[in-house]
């Protein structure tokens, strides 16, 4: 796509080529500048808010002398284990439920109930079950990411194109061949959409889990910063979480695009 644009319009100015990046960066710089100026003018109470300079200072402090790295590692481990488990089980269960009609009808009430309930409501129960160690957090991440992946996979397997099905049948395809050559490849984009949604919901699960029942992790860092009126630490935690979210979503989107090259709308 970018190739076409370059060859189509060779004499674009530097600004025209990078308009999105330039305007986007400009807005960030201006907002941070205003924020810092208001802070320096004493318009913001340090009790309720922080400043860019204080956040950078606090970030460096927690990174070098504090527990930021350990917290990030702790949260990252929770998220990684829970999320990978959710992908594996979600895809397998989704394919089976999507393919076998009876299994779907059997699981449907249960699935609907779970899908409609915010999984966050189960956090206290999960902490009762698993304690406040790592496994309660892993399970919360797992539960948060599992359902979007499952539901999207089921939808993908069920969205078999009728024309393709007819063609496969005309060529004497067996059920197993239809499953292998139509149902599975056809559901890949759906699975990747599920994974992208699972990333977002899994992160929420991770943060909430650590806020409610943990003495470590980035979620705990935010909660603790709030309880001790340490807004600088609170902001550092929020920014770390925000950047992880942006990075993971971006990765998931790239993965999604990579596997949907054959899709006409891209």
């Amino acid at each position: 796509m970018s190739k076409k644009k370059k060859s189509g319009r060779p004499h674009q100015s530097f600004y025209a080529k990078h308009e999105a990046v330039i305007l986007g960066s400009l807005s960030i710089v201006i907002i941070i500048g205003i924020w810092q100026a208001c802070w320096s003018a004493g318009m913001i109470s340090p009790l309720f808010f922080s400043s860019p300079s204080a956040i950078v200072k606090q970030f460096r402090y927690t990174l070098v002398e504090g527990t930021l790295l350990a917290d990030m590692k702790y949260s990252g481990t929770n998220f990684a284990i829970g999320f990978v488990l959710a992908v594996i089980t979600g895809v397998i269960a989704g394919v089976l439920i999507g393919w076998y009609r009876r299994l779907r009808l059997f699981c449907d009430p249960f699935l609907n109930a779970f899908y409609a309930t915010p999984r966050i409501a189960m956090v206290p129960l999960i902490i009762i079950w698993f304690g406040i160690g790592i496994w309660s957090k892993v399970f919360i991440v797992f539960l948060s990411a599992f359902f979007p992946i499952l539901v999207n996979t089921v939808g993908g397997v069920r969205a078999l194109d009728r024309d393709l099905l007819r063609a496969a049948k005309a060529y004497c395809a067996s059920d197993w061949q239809i499953f292998k050559t139509l149902a599975i490849p056809g559901s890949v984009p759906f699975i990747l959409t599920g994974i992208r949604q699972g990333v977002a919901l899994g992160l929420i699960g991770m943060v909430v889990g650590e806020m409610v029942g943990s003495s470590q992790g980035v979620g705990f860092m935010v909660a603790y910063g709030g309880q001790t009126f340490n807004t600088d630490t609170l902001f550092v935690g929020m920014i770390v979480i925000a950047f992880s979210g942006i990075l993971l979503t971006w990765l998931a989107e790239r993965l999604e695009r990579r596997f949907s090259r054959w899709r006409p709308e891209r």
Partner: protein, 265 residues
């Protein structure tokens, strides 16, 4: 020698919405010779696609017999291949992968033969160089060539074509018709070709069977006297137009009758 034989075939549907039975195909008998190109023409709703689906083995039937080489048709088989109206290509497979698909499903050839045949038929339909492209990168006409190559590569005894050019624009359709004749002339498979376009049927076929709507009955069979190869200029030949006209009259007569019946109701 008769390749495909249809004897007293009838097909009834239960029409859910109106809670009544509809006779889609009514006592059709038709014999297609080995190596013959037979076209069935008729207005939409005359049961011609139902007929093709039965021959393809995609629809069960209870009354009458359909047989290929004397063997009763009971479901899809490797002796038939279908070229569909909508190209029905797997969007995630490349052109080469799509041409292989029918062979893969039928499991008649080993890997080397499949590769060789896929290669051969991609070339035959004039798509060499596009093997690694995806269907969405191809025009409608090119997609239908892939559809045709997939069917031919499966090496059927009878080729079934279900309005394969109906969705193409007029110019592409004419071009594809002459391409089809060129490809067909290379190994002269038995073809059953369904269309609603009279001049397409007359141009392509050795014989044209005309069906009428509701119930789908065979009205008549026209033998097309032109030799081969045929060129597109044949469509302006006075004799061609005459045949086209008499088929048109037969269909017209039928639809007028139908209108009268409807008016009486």
């Amino acid at each position: 020698m008769v390749k495909l034989s249809i004897e007293h075939l009838s097909k009834r549907y239960w029409f859910e919405r109106e809670d009544r039975e509809v006779l889609a195909v009514n006592d059709v008998s038709l014999a297609v010779e080995d190596g013959e190109f037979l076209a069935i023409v008729g207005p939409s709703g005359c049961g011609k696609t139902t007929l093709l689906n039965i021959v393809a083995g995609l629809l069960p039937y209870e009354e009458g017999t359909v047989s290929i080489d004397g063997k009763r048709v009971d479901g899809p088989g490797v002796d038939r291949a279908v070229v569909f109206q909508h190209s029905s290509l797997l969007p995630w497979r490349t052109i080469a992968g799509n041409v292989r698909y029918g062979m893969e499903m039928q499991r008649r050839f080993d890997e080397a033969t499949m590769r060789e045949r896929a290669d051969h038929f991609v070339k035959m339909v004039g798509l060499n160089g596009f093997e690694k492209h995806f269907p969405n990168e191809l025009s409608g006409g090119m997609q239908q060539r892939v559809n045709l190559a997939r069917a031919l590569a499966a090496d059927p005894k009878v080729l079934l074509m279900d309005e394969p050019f109906a969705a193409l624009d007029a110019q592409t359709r004419e071009f594809m018709q002459s391409e089809l004749l060129k490809i067909w002339s290379q190994d002269r498979k038995t073809v059953l070709f369904i269309t609603h376009q009279i001049n397409e049927a007359v141009y392509l076929a050795d014989r044209v069977a005309v069906m009428s709507a509701r119930p789908g009955r065979l009205k008549g069979v026209f033998k097309i006297p032109f030799g081969r190869p045929r060129t597109l200029s044949l469509k302006r030949d006075p004799q061609f137009l005459e045949i086209e006209d008499s088929i048109w009259q037969l269909i017209e007569e039928e639809s007028q009758k139908l209108n009268m019946v409807l008016a009486e109701k």
